[in-house]
Symmetry: C2
Subunit: 79 residues, 2 copies
Amino acid sequence: MARVVVDVMPKPEILDPQGQAALRALGRLGFAGIEEIRQGKHFEIEVDDTVDDATLEKIAEGFLANPVIEQWTITRVGA
Amino acid sequence: MARVVVDVMPKPEILDPQGQAALRALGRLGFAGIEEIRQGKHFEIEVDDTVDDATLEKIAEGFLANPVIEQWTITRVGA
């Protein structure tokens, strides 16, 4: 068994309305010094030892992210 | 300037319908060995040096997460 984390974020050139809304709201509420917020998705996945990196890449690209507008990182965090 | 990552996840005792839907879909599509998927939110925040950890905690607890059903981690990843 291994734990895998996949973080999916809007590509830098893609507008992120959720992050922008959070940023504006914090400004209105008086929090100073917050320059930028971008919001994405965080997946924690438990896989058995038969699941290799190529399979994880296929799952991230095909099902967890939209490769047209999103980028992702895959990290194995435990055994 | 510093970059802060906030990961927000449903608490372990809370059902996660999005993660469960992804898990079932992958099973139907023939991906074996995926035991569990839980889906949360991933925030990447740029803050200036006036923003201390207590402020970040307040922002995460009050605005990025719902403390009733979610837990979160705050990580400073760069200077």
